[in-house]
């Protein structure tokens, strides 16, 4: 290890320092929104050291346990943006709901650090540790509103499911260690080449439970609706994008680095899981009335879509498509949750029928919500459209035509419930015509999310280039 290793992990050090600094600020000030503002500024500043990594070559640092490559940098950027947006939204949403406001922002930044570590670790111990890191903070954040029974329930359920899933995953890790005698991913990749298949299969299957839990893939999805509904809305937003993204990062790194699909055909396994997730998530989303529950089920279905990008990893479309999808989905899903947070705060309800007449009461939010719903369906020119286009192209490219067809059919199905929200907002008569207050910070976060959704949809080229270079750098 050398000093240059330390320079390579400046973003992580910055995030850790920021989180601890936030705890101090929280201690010293009575104006808790200040903590949130400092958090946002600190997160934005961390873009500078992250950006400086873009030009560097791929390598591992700190005794090979940590990757500094384009792939990791991509997820660092994604995580930081998502965290900043969520903190911004929480500044308006949280006050009055919990007496531990400052710690909320600090915990969000800690979670961001865990997600960043998760996407870049090349050692199974560090990987397990960072997954648990994220899980622990997520459990706390999900159960943050102690007076709220739904939040309590969300916390307990998330914890029980998560802890069980991670125990199973760790068993898989232990078998992988037993097969290779090493904890380093690249070392494992070298030695696993002549490992016996059944044990390898078992280990991958057990590990999938942990990753599947994080990305809310069927059959590890049961926690999703309850947790998203019960958790504080910004936290649900965060879990549905950042946590999911890091889960995908870890899954992709694990599968691509460690397991040669020529030896162990995990492509079919992932493809089947992808199809099932898409379909089941969609079907369960159809009857939902609660917007957060609907978004939860739809996020299961999106996890299925994203899995297409994992299965179709060969060629120029699949994996870059996954990254583009994740980034676009991040803006869109965050935006949708922010509108839900705003409406929930103003109306005190999360039910879709109560959104009636919103186009007149909160025109900007309603318009943005419509854009987000269209984007989630996959209409051009929005960000998720680009992502869907790429992963579907990747599927066809990889000879997974059936999967692409399932994807298209599911997109059409999803139109039904996404359009239901738009219908409620624009067609249904309003119960009241009092205009809703639209708080500033939340509005800014919403605006950025909307801008991101549209911008990626209209001019995707820089993102595509970024994603391509990120994928190229994955294999060291």
């Amino acid at each position: 290890m050398s000093a240059s290793d330390l320079w390579s992990i400046v973003p992580e050090l910055w995030l850790a320092g920021l989180a601890i600094f936030l705890l101090l600020v929280d201690l010293l000030t009575a104006r808790k929104s200040l903590v949130g503002v400092v958090a946002v500024m600190g997160l934005l500043l961390s873009i500078i050291p992250i950006g400086s990594l873009l030009t560097q070559g791929a390598r591992t640092v700190i005794f090979g346990s940590y990757a500094v490559d384009g792939f990791a940098v991509f997820f660092k950027i994604l995580t930081v943006i998502a965290t900043a947006l969520v903190v911004l939204a929480a500044i308006d949403w949280l006050p009055g709901r919990s007496q531990y406001e400052g710690e909320f922002y600090a915990l969000l930044v800690f979670t961001a650090l865990g997600l960043v570590l998760m996407a870049a670790s090349t050692d199974i111990i560090l990987l397990a540790l960072s997954i648990e890191f994220v899980s622990l903070t997520s459990y706390v954040l999900a159960g943050y509103l102690k007076g709220d029974v739904k939040s309590n329930e969300a916390g307990v359920k998330y914890f029980l499911y998560g802890a069980a899933a991670s125990a199973v995953m760790l068993f898989g890790f232990s078998i992988l260690y037993g097969l290779t005698g090493s904890t380093n991913l690249y070392e494992i990749a070298r030695r696993v080449a002549n490992a016996p298949l059944p044990a390898l299969y078992l280990s991958i299957a057990l590990m999938l439970s942990g990753f599947g839990f994080k990305i809310s893939m069927v059959p590890f999805h049961q926690w999703t609706p309850d947790v998203y509904e019960g958790a504080p809305t910004p936290v649900a937003a965060y879990l549905s994008v950042a946590s999911k993204a890091a889960g995908f990062a870890a899954l992709v790194r694990m599968l691509m680095v460690v397991v040669d699909p020529g030896r162990l055909n995990w492509i079919l396994l992932i493809a089947v899981l992808s199809a099932v997730s898409m379909t089941l998530g969609n079907l369960l989303a159809l009857p939902q009335r609660n917007i957060k529950r609907m978004l939860a089920y739809s996020s299961i279905s999106h996890a299925g879509f994203l899995l297409i990008g994992v299965a179709a990893f060969r060629g120029d479309f699949g994996t870059p498509g996954l990254l583009i999808y994740l980034l676009g989905y991040m803006f869109t899903q965050l935006g949708a949750f922010f509108v839900a947070a705003l409406i929930g705060q103003q109306l005190g309800t999360d039910d879709i029928p109560d959104y009636a007449g919103l186009s007149r009461r909160a025109p900007v939010s309603a318009l943005l919500m419509a854009v987000f719903m269209l984007s989630l369906t996959g209409f051009p020119p929005t960000s998720v459209f680009i992502g869907k286009f790429y992963v579907l192209a990747g599927a066809i490219d990889n000879g997974l035509l059936w999967l692409a067809i399932v994807g298209v059919v599911n997109s059409v199905i999803s139109l039904y419930y996404y359009a239901g929200v738009i219908r409620a907002m624009y067609v249904m008569p309003a119960a009241s015509t009092v205009p809703l207050r639209e708080p500033a910070a939340l509005q800014v976060a919403l605006g950025i999310a909307g801008l991101g959704t549209l911008l990626i949809g209209l001019y995707p080229q820089p993102i595509i280039d970024l994603a391509r270079s990120a994928v190229l750098l994955l294999r060291i």
Binding site: I124, G143, K150, V156, A163, A164, G178, G181, S182, T183
Partner: protein, 103 residues
Amino acid sequence: MQVGLTHYLVVSTLLFSIGLYGVLTRRNAVAILMGIELMLNAVNINLVAFNRYIAPGAVGGQTFALVIITLAACEAAVGLALVMAAYRSLETIHVDEINVMKW
């Protein structure tokens, strides 16, 4: 008969299954946590045994086991705090009674 790797793996597998059974069948949140602890112990036996028999030159497995023990303690602290919070507002720690939200 010499005690070999397989012996330890059998014990850990049995422990893992017992823990899994507990997780799946208990309705008390704390009892589920106990099942999870058993599963984590099984993982640790695995790791330490593999360390001893497969890679005795390094201490990777033991390190992993120590990290998992730490994580188990963190999980217990956070999880039990959540259970306590739920108990305060719902007055139960049985997961089948913690169902304000409908499917």
